[in-house]
């Protein structure tokens, strides 16, 4: 079977260790959540979105039939590993006892060990490539928009600061992505596995530390790759020690099962080819489309060209009374930014509840893409707008909502996603039920637009005429970025409790002055005079920019 002579007989301890390792590593290489299977099963392969393949690559694993808590704690998320290990030890011991009692114990597990490494290699390789492509085509860490550029450094969370520090250097992000994708690709070949594992161990070891230091929240999933890499390295480390430290002649790893049978050859090449095609070919293309037309953390629809920019607030009237400009006053707007995408950002000197999540995940609708508000304080508010350019009215919705969406659903426990968040908890409380009723009271749907049956004044929030002017947001990105995933999420949009404003905009002096007037989120009338600021930022933008605006 083999091409060389590996250890013909394994010691009892080696065999026990192998049995435990086999249980453990197979358990943590298999998706453990029903949602993952459900998601993968429902993928529309004819109109793919990069997130479809990303979801295949990113899943939680480990044995979670008995929950994810040990002594009442999830041990920073690692309890699942420990539970899985304990069960694996038990299984390994039982296995050993059984085969010894029955007298069917094998002399060695060379072939099994080979296949266990194959499972781990492919799990680690596919997983890290899924992650790496969001950096290689730099969308994981977006370049800050105007609102973020105008936010004080101390008004950001540590997590935000780290994400931004990579976002400002897209070419460096590409470099990090190349490292990850290379490490993953090297794992697909047995000769380069050790090199790939070293690369993976080093790169992800650093990322684990980064996640702990900056409270990045992805420490378990990044540790996962370090663990898989360590397992793959375990084979060659004694050889390296023998060669470099003991300075002795060293034999390489040479045990490979034979693939001479025809069907084996075809199966091997077929599966390997499929992996390459899907996770290096198709995923690259989908990620490129995402980078060009629909960067997943930024709103994808372009903002109004005439409005884009930063503005000083020259005059602010609330219910027809002038509020004089003062940094300490808590009523007036202090500054306004219109992003290149469909967001309006402004600052009020008044505390507001914050969204401290990572602002990632896979929301398709622009209103739910909230990277610009997550981990940001300083009184900043960000609203998504639908623009009726014919009547010159903006329909604005607050990006903040009290009950956030659940993100990375398919990832599940052990994948640093889908941990029960406030949304899941709320579902079992009165608050959640109310939310449910609200959703039920809203049967009508017009693609891409949430509508209330009755606004506070007894009319639709957006009139049918205005809706016709606005058009369908789902179709307002490049057609090449269209996907079933996007269509479905727009189709399933529900009326949510958010702050809303309706503001008319008038531009004067070639857009150097903008006047906003209308009803704010508290149903007060506002009249705001904005004067454009042409600021030269010290921070210089990169030649590489995601999205098409």
């Amino acid at each position: 079977m083999s091409t060389a002579t590996p250890a013909p007989v394994w010691t009892g301890a080696q065999k026990l260790a192998f049995r435990i390792a086999a249980f453990f590593f197979i358990s943590i290489s298999i998706p453990n959540s029903v949602e993952w299977y459900n998601t993968v099963f429902h993928i529309d392969w004819t109109r793919l979105h990069y997130r479809d393949l990303y979801d295949i690559a990113r899943f939680g694993s480990g044995i979670n039939l008995f929950g994810d808590h040990l002594f009442g704690s999830n041990l920073l998320g690692y309890a699942n590993w420990i539970i899985t290990l304990l069960i694996s030890i038990a299984a390994g011991v039982i296995w050993t006892v059984v085969v010894r009692r029955r007298g069917t114990e094998r002399k060695e597990y060379n072939t099994f060990y080979y296949w266990l490494r194959v499972v781990v290699r492919y799990r680690a390789g596919i997983g890290i490539i899924g992650f790496g492509f969001t950096k290689l085509l730099p969308v994981q860490m977006p370049y800050p928009g105007l609102g973020l550029l105008n936010t004080n450094f101390g008004d950001l969370t540590a997590q935000k600061i780290f994400w931004l520090s990579v976002g400002i250097v897209p070419w460096y992000q590409v470099f990090a992505g190349v490292i990850e994708v290379t490490a993953g690709t090297l794992l697909f070949f047995r000769r380069t596995t050790t090199l790939g594992a070293i690369l993976l161990f080093g790169a992800l070891g650093d990322i684990v530390y980064v996640n702990f230091a900056y409270d990045g929240g992805v420490h378990v999933y990044s540790s996962y790759f370090v663990l898989l890499a360590a397992f793959l390295l375990a084979d060659d480390l004694p050889r390296l020690y023998n060669l470099l430290i003991r300075e002795r002649d060293t034999q390489p790893h040479t045990y490979y099962p034979s693939f001479s049978a025809r069907w084996l050859k075809i199966a091997r090449i077929g599966l390997k080819g499929l992996t390459f095609f899907l996770f290096l070919g198709v995923l690259f293309y989908l990620q490129l489309v995402n980078f060009l037309y629909d960067p997943y953390k930024q709103p994808a629809v372009a903002g109004l060209r005439t409005l884009r920019g930063s503005y000083a607030v020259t005059e602010f009237r609330l219910n027809n009374k002038v509020v004089p400009y003062s940094p300490s006053d808590s009523l007036g707007w202090k500054e306004v930014e219109f992003e290149k995408w469909s967001s309006l950002s402004y600052v009020v000197n008044k505390a507001t509840p914050l969204d401290l999540s990572n602002g990632g995940g896979d929301p398709q609708r622009d209103v739910n893409r909230n990277f610009e508000i997550t981990g940001v304080a300083g009184g900043r508010r960000v609203f998504h707008y639908y623009a009726d350019t014919i009547d010159k009215v903006l329909y604005l919705e607050d990006k903040y909502k009290a009950i956030p969406d659940r993100r990375n659903r398919a990832a599940g426990a052990g994948g640093d996603g889908g941990a029960p968040g406030p949304a899941d908890i709320a579902a079992t409380t009165g608050r959640g039920h109310r939310k449910g009723r609200e959703a039920q009271a809203q049967p009508r749907y017009d693609a891409g637009m949430e509508k209330s049956p009755k606004g506070s004044n007894g009319k639709d929030w957006i009139s049918a005429a205005a809706l016709a002017h606005i058009g369908k947001e789902v179709d307002q990105i490049d057609p090449r970025a269209a996907s079933t995933r996007r269509d479905q999420e727009y189709a399933q949009a529900k009326w949510e409790k958010r702050n809303r404003m309706v503001l008319r905009y008038d531009t004067i002096d070639g857009g150097n002055r903008v006047i906003l007037s209308g009803i704010n989120e508290r149903n007060d009338s506002v009249y705001i005079v904005l004067d454009r600021i042409n600021k030269n930022y010290v921070l210089t933008e990169s030649s590489l920019q995601a999205g098409k605006y």
Binding site: T151, N152, D155, W171, L244
Partner: protein
Amino acid sequence: MSNTINRKAVAWKGYEKFLFRLFFIYFFLQAVPLDWKYYRQVFSIDWSSLGYGAIFNLAHYAPRFTSGTPGYVDWGILLAIAFSGAIGWTVIDTRRYHVTNYDNGYYWLRVIVRYRLAIGIIAYGFIKLFPLLSPYPSLSNLNTEYGDFTRWKLFSLSLGIVPSYESFLGAVEIVGGLLLFYRKTASIGAFIIAVFLGNVFMSNVAYGGGEEVYSLYLSSLALFVLSYDAVRLLNLLLLQRAAAPNRYRPVFAGRGRRYARLAFKTAFILFFVVLYGFKTRSGYKHAPYQFPTSKGLPGAAGIYNVSEFIIGKDTLAYSKTDSTRWQDVVFENWATLSIRSNRPVLLDSNNSERPGLPDDERDYELEGSAGRHYYTYTNDSVNRLLTLRNKNPHYAGERWVLHYERPLGSRIVLSGVGSVGSGGEGVGSGKDSVYAVLDRIDKKYLLEEARKRGRQGGLSL
């Protein structure tokens, strides 16, 4: 100290010998300080009060033929010298000596490069292990808009908020460096350092850092050290062939040589690792180098709203666009005061490490940062006078003498005159009088609140 024990001397091929000569001259010149400027630095050290800054600078050597920082041009010159030297050496050797191999020479060249690299990387390691390199951001830094920083400054600030991560990075460098001191672990250390510095180099390129050439210089040394074992490693790991170990053993014949070796190695490690380690540790506690250490106005540290502002006889209303009107003022714990206004800032764009500078030349707080003007000041507490000097070299002439009153605990009233001096712009020209009422803001920073309370619970700010 010559020859090998269990190995028959294998004759080197002609091109191998030529390459060795080339590399020998090149790396010898790169690693051994022959530059007279280096010794000027050595002799200017005050050995009685040796600080970590002086040792850092000793370890931060790279030969340069031009003024300013070493660049790739210097490498080119060295390579040209090495190339012509190797040709001359080859000619002489073929005529006279007919050397069969350079096993000994290679060993000693590797020793030189290993030690040079080790102290270079450890010098950086300790100022990260004890997070001096990127300190926690100052109050002024926290109150500067994100877009008002250069990429490099943002890199440093982002590292500064996580001292534990900075320490971790330093520890990796130190471990890599220590492994270089032992022949058998040298390649492992060199590998760790090559990967680490590769990333440092990429960061310097991406963020516009000042250590691009130097980090590549150290990387090249690491790759040279690693190349000794590269073939056997690739054989074993990649090609999956049997690999032969290194069989060369340096022989130190006689007691004298053994002791000399031990003494040299010990002294080297004592000075560049142990002593330097202790110095950086005490420096971290008592003498950090990025921010000044002289005390500021007592009890004044904080950010202040400028409630009232009069320049000459004109009272100016709040404005984010006026270049004269102060928007807010920060008093640091140390004797620095910074003013935010819309007055443009010509950047102080230094981006390389300069530990050991006196207090009034420490400009880290304003390097790569716009949005605020920074002043160092002296406090005459009897007459209640602050004498301000603009720290930015582009506004070196700007001086202010301001009288202060503190009618309330949270209020400071500044009044006095100053001049922006030549070349500056903004607060008028010639003498200006200013009157400003400053009220302390009870500012809560999300950076700190989120750290205290975690990101799980809700937070309003």
